[in-house]
Symmetry: C2
Subunit: 287 residues, 2 copies
């Protein structure tokens, strides 16, 4: 949090090219530089921004996966040099265990602050990636408490809820949202989802999506920065960058009325069904 009392968050909605790591890193670095030039404290890139998404084979993924200390990843740190800004971006991680993870990295000018491995894998990701084994982290940074998650993780209401309960003020989500049909005038369902998640837990959310069409997959371009009441604070401008000044610490005031508090009113003792899979609870029987 800067002395402006707010954190300037930017989402750079890119169109990564499948397998073109050098090009994607360069375009990512240019977008980060543009956001930093506009005063961004936190810059977010899409899911798998270094590689593209639509892998045809494990061999393709293996050819573009990076270890967190790979020199190529440091290309996204160059635009941060001499400043205090942070980057959150998606990339395919080659683990020390020889497995591949759909990961996001939190960077500052000096190096890697955190890595998160996606814990809910969408569709063919399951063929190529291993799901992360640890909960999404809450990272206390100089610009606020960030909860890291990725795309399909957001479809599980438990995930943003748990991150907010654990103290995150801003959820930072690189995404690749597949384009879904919707009635005219409606927002993408994925945006509706993050708005509801933000409102439910009184937490800010920055979802950085991608654009374009990749091997037949149409992407949504649904990037949105959402405030803690669930209203859309920013969507991308003509340069593809969504930018908003967010009073992140205000997320922590969860009082709704003299007698209500977003978290204080929870009844965790009644939510036991969430610990199990489907139909884990007992059903009352009517006739």
């Amino acid at each position: 949090v800067t002395n402006r009392g707010v954190t300037r968050v930017a989402c750079c909605q890119l169109d990564p090219v499948i397998l073109d790591v050098a090009g994607n890193m360069e375009r990512g670095a240019q977008a980060i530089a543009a956001a930093v030039a506009r005063g961004a404290d936190i810059v977010v890139l899409p899911e798998l921004a270094s590689s593209g998404y639509m892998f045809d084979s494990a061999a393709e993924l293996a050819a573009v996966a990076l270890t967190p200390d790979d020199d190529r990843l440091s290309g996204w740190r160059e635009p941060l040099r001499g400043g205090a800004a942070l980057v959150v971006a998606g990339f395919p991680e080659r683990g020390a265990d020889g497995l591949f993870y759909n990961a996001s990295v939190l960077l500052d000018a000096d190096g890697v602050l955190a890595i998160y491995r996606k814990t809910h894998l969408w569709n063919r990701e399951k063929l190529f990636f291993t799901q992360g084994g640890r909960p999404p982290p809450v990272v206390h940074t100089r610009h606020g408490r960030l909860g890291l998650l990725i795309c399909y993780d957001l479809d599980f209401p438990e995930v943003p809820r748990a991150l907010a309960l654990r103290g995150a003020d801003l959820l930072v989500a690189p995404t690749n949202w597949g384009l879904l049909g919707r009635p005219p005038g409606e927002q993408p369902p994925q945006v509706l989802n993050i708005r509801a998640a933000a409102r439910a837990s009184h937490v800010f959310i920055a979802a950085c999506d991608r654009t374009g069409t990749e091997r037949g997959q149409h992407w949504t371009g649904g990037t949105a920065i959402v405030d803690a009441e669930g209203w859309v604070a920013a969507t991308p401008g003509t340069d593809g960058i969504a930018i908003a000044d967010l009073p992140l610490a205000a997320a922590r005031d969860r009082k709704l009325s003299d007698l209500n508090d977003v978290f204080g009113d929870r009844r965790p003792e009644l939510y036991g069904a969430l610990r199990a899979g489907a139909e884990g609870g007992r059903c009352a029987q009517g006739r």
Copy 2:
């Protein structure tokens, strides 16, 4: 579920008059009759439909609270006579324990099938009502598996999620949604919330709201029946009734792709933070 293969659900958006039990019962019965005449299998009335909401004192509540076997409640069963329809409606319950509950009752022509006592109380409800001690029930009825909850319960993502996990196909929510400011063109935040909850758990939701202004409180009139993808299936017509034919059993097919399932993809072992209050989890420390 009828031989049409769908369940016809109707929400009757009323404007209950504070403390006028006889009049509210009568207007409720007329609305139920109108919905049944249109073929409704399940008819929903708002929260506290028999009494109004804005109590000034415990004495006012005591004067209008009903036991579930009160003859006056049977007024809502009259229009069901000779048929198979069900009613879900809100009323202030006088418990055998001498305490008062913000409750909903599930009725058929023959009597009371279930009672639910609201487990999350909004604002001044806390002054007059006691919160329910048991989780919202899932009731297996002749018209589908109904999850019963009330208004502010919906603001806790854990509640609709747990009901769907426990096998509910349709969540039935009497509400009294206080009117909130919103930008032009936006739906009420409460509607956005139920749409996201329906989509997240692939479950149908019928929220029956109220209209009018009561002792200075403006109500939203946000009644909506939402399908399992989160789209609005019906809002009230000029007669105040929202009506939709819902293929309730279809809620149980939660396959999203060849490799994805709404519930099967959950990672309950990673959601431990939900068991505790705020900041119950460990936070990673960055710099």
